[in-house]
Symmetry: C2
Subunit: 232 residues, 2 copies
């Protein structure tokens, strides 16, 4: 399509760079550590439940994840978790915050093409403000974006606030991201467009069921297909 | 002065509502809890040092404070901190996040006067995005503000970005807040104006030495004096 979008918006974690993989590696090690106190299935269920329960109070991001692991460790061990194990959990969390940024395939070429075509690009990401700013700076991608929006939650209400703040109508806005639930569905529901770039390790919490027929949605294998779709 | 400010910006914590008091109460209880493992002076020094050291990795806010307490507890107890004590620390932190918002004296009247005079008001606060949004919503003050800016750090660079983003020049901008270091000095240094409303429990880390003679700065006892200064 010849595109008339005023703003092309990108999700960040697992759309521009690897993120969830690091969380999964740490979660795996966490479960291993805790398996000396309780069976693997109980530990796995407990950490997943705790993460979801804590989203409302802690939001997304590494610090909330650290606190969820610590709370789960105290809980599933019946208070017997050793300080060595707790220190290792904290160390893993701090490592996560300082993790190197590894860009996903095709990301930088796509941003260059879109920028050179004069498109206005933004990042709309959820998570911890400080973490997301740090990741964007480390990624070297800051220069391609006109605006960075860090959202507490990616719901229709928050996207409407964002569009309002940017002064664009929903059909002038397209969102590109790996999460159908956070990046695509709310945008389609408010009348915008979406390009879904599924990521192989999308978090279980982020998966949604069949979304029905949609004429404002594309699903692609690799982000490099975005430039073709938008005909730049 | 008859004011020509295009934007009047308020800090939030300890300028609009009580905040630091809650942190200090929890810190006091934390030190009491830990005093069974180590002397009070060492515990106090350790938690303060840890908080400062962790600012770069965790930023401001309740979650970073919780992690600093947990790390300090493991450290000063030589790994002997009990799970009962760790659970109490986590419980205190969660309570902090869910704390009621108590407005400071004169705040709402001042915001009403300025709003009715047609001044454009914003909040510029540092800290955790989710926490600050929640506090603002709970405060009932959201309706007086045109824009809420949550900043990772309150340095000259971040303020310049904010002014740029808002499209105003430094001398069209005045910042009102309780912290000389975070709210006033960086603004004066980039050519803006400031009204300092000292708060009785300003955090030791926030105190600065003599700032010399300044003609763009007022210091007031109570925020209600702001309306007089700005002649609205």
């Amino acid at each position: 399509m010849k595109n008339d979008f005023k703003i092309i918006s990108f999700d960040a974690d697992d759309t521009l760079w690897i993120n969830e993989t690091y969380y999964q590696e740490i979660e795996k090690e966490f479960i291993e550590i805790m398996s000396k106190y309780r069976d693997v299935v109980s530990v796995t269920d407990s950490i997943h439940e705790r993460e979801i329960d804590n989203l409302e109070i802690y939001g997304y991001g590494a610090k909330g994840f650290m606190l969820s692991m610590i709370e789960t460790a105290l809980d599933v061990s019946g208070g017997n978790v050793s300080s060595v194990d707790l220190n290792r959990i904290i160390e893993m969390g701090r490592g996560l915050i300082n993790e190197d940024i590894v860009l996903l395939d095709g990301v930088e070429e796509t941003l260059i093409k879109l920028s050179e075509a004069g498109q206005k690009l933004i990042v709309a990401t959820k998570g911890d403000l400080l973490d997301q700013e740090r990741k964007l700076r480390k990624s070297g991608l800051e220069k391609y974006f006109d605006h960075i929006e860090i959202m507490s939650y990616k719901t229709e209400k928050y996207y409407l606030d964002l569009l309002n703040h940017l002064g664009v109508k929903p059909d002038e806005f397209i969102m590109i991201g790996n999460s159908m639930k956070s990046d695509i569905l709310p945008i389609l529901n408010i009348g915008g467009y979406g390009i879904h770039v599924p990521h192989h390790t999308t978090w279980a919490h982020e998966l949604v069921d069949d979304i029905g027929k949609q004429d404002k949605l594309w699903v692609v294998e690799n982000i490099s297909e975005v430039a073709e779709i938008l005909e730049v």
